[in-house]
Symmetry: C2
Subunit: 329 residues, 2 copies
């Protein structure tokens, strides 16, 4: 059955509403109202919106549910990098009337599985007709941090801390989708990207010493270049971030190879943060105590751009929604 035959109303009432979470405490509005209401769970409210056409995240080995999961994860990631605990999601969906109900259900289920995994309650949204299906996730979070770290706050002397493991999406970007689809570990690591929400807690606890922070949604190299550009500083990188063990094997220890695979990619959803020298000890202690995967890869310096120690220049590409892959360094 196609959505056009089912009608929007029956899709909302028969499918979507089953995935909606409980209303926030003391809330009075919710499904099927056009808006949701809540009282703040922490002094500062953080809101983001992160959207994508489904086609653009639909790697061949991702099901529609996997693609939806990836989009929901991207929305969570924006909060983590700012020290915010994501709490409530509103989802705006553009689906084609020609879409099979089973496919629409797979999309909704993928979103719901991701929200459940991250402890986010899906509280509302909007459905629309679109010939090029898309998902826009509005995420509402809360933070106790008085100053959530922006992209633009890096200062010379800061240590550069990178959370997460890299190299799988770099493999896709550099070797192509064809070869990646035959490489089991790449498929496994990229099917449903994950965010470590504990990183957000560490950032909220250490906001005074974390001068800049940005999530790695468009590639680690691109992320570093963005912080560099917006902060008016340079980055000296002395070692690669953590990579998957298959990347170590593949690179046979060659630094150039490790940088190429870890700096390119996207959707890794680790965080790049720059931390004052005085604050680094506490940040590292907190990351360790939560068991977060991280590496201190270098430091912020005067100047601009990214200098990699011990290797030739590594080309870095970023994804541009209108222009496709563009070189950023």
């Amino acid at each position: 059955m196609k959505l056009g035959e089912l009608t929007e109303r029956l899709f909302i009432e028969g499918v979507l509403r089953n995935y909606l979470g409980k209303r926030p405490p003391f809330s009075r509005l919710g499904f099927p109202d056009d808006a949701v209401d809540f009282l703040p769970l922490a002094p500062r409210i953080v809101v983001s919106v992160d959207a994508s056409s489904i086609a653009s995240v639909k790697l061949p080995w991702r099901s529609l549910g996997d693609a939806a999961w990836a989009i929901a994860t991207g929305a969570v990631s924006d909060h983590i990098a700012k020290g915010s605990r994501p709490a409530y999601a509103l989802v705006s969906l553009g689906l084609s009337p020609d879409l099979d109900l089973s496919e629409a259900k797979a999309i909704v289920r993928g979103l719901s599985e991701a929200f459940n995994y991250y402890g986010v309650s899906w509280v509302g949204g909007d459905t629309n007709s679109s010939r090029d299906p898309w998902i826009s996730v509005t995420m509402i979070g809360f933070t106790t941090a008085k100053r959530p770290p922006p992209r633009s706050g890096a200062r010379p002397g800061d240590a550069v801390v990178v959370t997460g493991r890299y190299g799988a999406m770099g493999y896709v970007a550099l070797r192509g989708v064809e070869e990646a689809s035959r490489t089991t570990w790449v498929v496994e690591k990229t099917r449903r990207p994950l965010v470590d929400v504990r990183v957000g807690t560490v950032i909220a606890l250490n906001y005074k010493s974390i001068h800049a922070s940005m999530d790695v949604s468009d590639g680690l190299g691109f992320t570093i270049m963005e912080i560099s550009r917006l902060s008016g500083v340079g980055f000296r990188v002395e070692k690669p971030p953590l990579v998957f063990k298959e990347v170590y094997e593949l690179c046979e220890g060659r630094l150039q190879c490790l940088y190429e695979l870890s700096l390119n990619g996207g959707e890794e959803y680790g965080v790049v943060m720059t931390v004052s020298k005085e604050g680094l000890g506490n940040v590292v202690e907190d990351l360790e105590s939560y068991g977060v995967e991280y590496e201190v890869i270098g430091e912020v310096v005067e100047g601009s751009g990214l200098k990699l120690e011990g290797v030739n220049k590594v080309a870095i590409y970023g994804w541009d929604q209108f222009g496709g892959y563009v070189k950023s360094a």
Copy 2:
């Protein structure tokens, strides 16, 4: 120049950022961060998301800017009906790389003009590539009301108050887009729909006596049927809402004609509220003191559905995103 040639980055930095408003007070994040942060402006926070493909609101006499205005107005309207003052907007845009920069600018300008008109600050968002361009507006508002009125709270005995003027979009729905495009007053009244934000203040002030409230985005008849269905009550309507003077002339006073044109349509963005008998005097006094256009059209009764006094049955259609126009009564 096409967006694909310009790149997303230059579109954001060269065009979009010029339309962003000031950061909220005490905010630390904002353009170009992925999230915005703010402190609450009133005890209760209200968030909605309202999206649309541009094609679906692009009446032939609407420019792209008018279409964008209409979508922004729809997002404001959801707040007004809940007694919320809309304050901050995040806009998720899906635009085609083939779109001319001038057209993209017209869309952004239309959104910005609407937000300025309603006193909303455009604080962030997301840009995406889409072959079927769309706009999703996340609106954040605040209310002092302890219980914002839901769709589902109508009680027998309540008076039915309808704000706004009707008939122009009914003309489009019943006579068709062709004839409407040759009818000057219809074109003028529907090009850029307007919401009266003072209605939201009246609702916040009178939340104790306003049992149900819903904005008229999909037609007045459909709105009444929705409140009826969700509240488990019926509506007895004794007179039509306010209509444009051209509708009175057109109908030559015939009640059937007045109901047909006022109950069908959409995007009128008035509000239907049901008000306790005891509270009606205060609500009317507040609406009068603000100069809001309204009519008390009838009352809520036991039972279900919509009974129009003095006329035969009037067919009511609602817009279904997947199914198109569907009959709701």
